[in-house]
Subunit: 348 residues, 2 copies
């Protein structure tokens, strides 16, 4: 019942030209007379021709497919990245194969294999692997995204500018009178953690703060991880207002929950600064002040960078996108010597 889909040969026949000419006209090559092109395009429209990308990929080696391998599409930050990448890919007539690795080496390897078998033109990868082996074996053009990219300095990568982001956060904390913030960090196994911590230390030194004296807790990059880390933080001896810089918005939101569960208030008793810029931070109460990574823009740039890589001109090298501070209501302003004064509680 479903009849054969028209091919370029059908178009050529209808237009009265050879399939070579038809192919040239349809692919927008220049060496075709206007009249022939016109006839071919008209014929294509008439028979309802649609190019077969498989055959194109087979012959030309270009499939018009790109791969995106991220930890989890349900994580709001990665969803933003995916959206940016998808939009940019669509602008260039390419499509995106999306995979979630769940921080699992096996899954990642399996996804990379699927990408190779699909003969994608290239891939954007947030690598689970901290060794170069799997990536080395990938065998296709790729661009790394995220903070783990710094482990692979030889490859193109697009990430947020952590150094600038931490400085932004520190400046904001200090400007509000928080000179010795506690830290809530991710698991020790994660590369991003070391990066964050090292940058943080550098900024402490610049400001004559002894980082070793600052409270510090670990947790998974989740709401629950942030909650338990904050509980441990609250159990410590402390005097006066507590300010916390969390390495991730989900942890910051979890910390906020823990504060409330402890019978304390944010920002009156505890100030919280997040990191990521996920939408959910705008719905909490108070709204979460955070350093926002440009997730969508990272996705866009990664695709641009990947096109360069595919074209054999990897001129970008490593791209660091600037972050911005989103001020909502989770930081108290102690700079006016009014320790108990709440910050305005607008929703950034």
């Amino acid at each position: 019942m479903q009849r054969r889909r028209p091919t370029i040969i059908d178009v050529a026949r209808k237009a009265g030209v050879s399939k070579s000419t038809a192919g040239r006209a349809l692919s927008g090559a220049s060496n075709v007379t206007d009249e022939a092109r016109e006839r071919v395009l008209e014929a294509a429209r008439a028979v309802g021709y649609e190019r077969n990308d498989l055959a194109v990929g087979m012959r030309s080696g270009r499939t018009g497919l790109l791969g995106l391998v991220i930890p989890d599409i349900t994580n709001p930050f990665w969803a933003e990245v995916a959206r940016g990448a998808q939009d940019r890919a669509a602008e260039n007539g390419t499509s995106l194969l999306v995979f979630s690795s769940d921080w699992d080496h096996g899954r990642e390897a399996s996804h990379l294999r699927a990408l190779r078998q699909a003969r994608v033109d290239g891939a954007i990868i947030n690598p689970v692997a901290d060794s170069f082996d799997d990536l080395d074996r990938f065998g296709l053009p790729f661009v790394l995204i995220g903070s783990s990219a710094e482990r692979f300095p030889a490859n193109s990568s697009v990430g947020s500018d952590i150094a600038q982001a931490v400085r932004l956060g520190m400046d904001h904390l200090v400007s509000k009178g928080h000179h010795a913030p506690a830290l809530i960090l991710g698991p020790k196994s994660r590369i991003a953690r070391a990066r964050f911590l090292r940058t943080f230390h550098e900024h402490c030194v610049e400001r004559d703060i002894d980082p070793a004296a600052l409270p510090m807790e670990d947790g998974e990059y989740t709401v629950e991880g942030g909650r338990t880390a904050m509980m441990r933080l609250l159990e410590r001896d402390r005097v006066g207002h507590l300010a916390v810089f969390a390495a991730n918005d989900l942890m910051a939101l979890g910390a906020m929950v823990a504060v409330r569960e402890a019978g304390l208030r944010c920002p009156e008793d505890v100030s919280i600064l997040g990191f990521d810029g996920i939408p959910a931070g705008a719905f909490s109460w108070p709204g979460l002040t955070t350093v926002a990574k440009p997730g969508r823009e990272i996705g866009v740039r990664a695709v641009d960078c990947l096109f360069d890589e595919i074209a054999g001109r990897p001129e970008h090298g490593r791209v660091f996108m600037p972050c911005r501070l989103v001020e909502r209501g989770s930081l108290a302003d102690l700079s006016l010597n009014q320790p108990r004064r709440a910050a305005s509680s607008g929703r950034g």
Copy 2:
């Protein structure tokens, strides 16, 4: 520098068999000697052979690609659906092409064309179109997801059981003593709105409630839409406690913001019931009580259903997945004649 990738012919040569036999062994066909199969597999491993899905698709008509067209991957609900679909697809050795339509007809049409050109085996679509035309022209097996599916009774679809969901919500509201809840609905242009409203009316009739007497406001399916709708609701004359049933979690969270901005408290002054079950609802304060759709499960079932459709046995027809009530802290319990008693404020 990058040498040719090994083909099935290389494998055949190395194993000392014909490419037909090599192909049979690699594709797991039965009519091959164990010894030959062994040799082929060994040879494939030795030369690092990886099947070319393009060529397979070219010849066999099966590409191992599925399309997913949803409104927006950054919407947490759709991200869940995508994740479920992706996982199930991966289990079956297929990959997912993901597109966001942004409720735009042009984008949707363009994405569907890209799917056809990529020769995907089938697609899962949340259609923007309310007419059948675009879908009719699609020409490939597809399964619809989401509430708009009901416009197309002739096609397979997977969605949540709105009737059951609304009943669940109503039962909960009534059990907490809210017999005349206000409604915050989506835009009149959306199909989901009519569905929700009709079901709501049916349940009102069953309970001898006059739906016409209930306050009702429209808004976009966003936080801002919910916020302004709630502001309009609060401007109306009212007596006592206000209960609101929002047609979407984002709107519910926006409503919560509006309540706070008006100097009122949730749930003490206003009770809010959401609909969707997005993760952000757990981070708000109070936590959002909501009717949760099984997003991930919908994605999984949609893929199963699509495989049936591709195989030419569309036995599923229309699948409705049951929703469940997630009780957090945004509803006051008025059932004990204690109008001002706050509900427990746990985080579901």
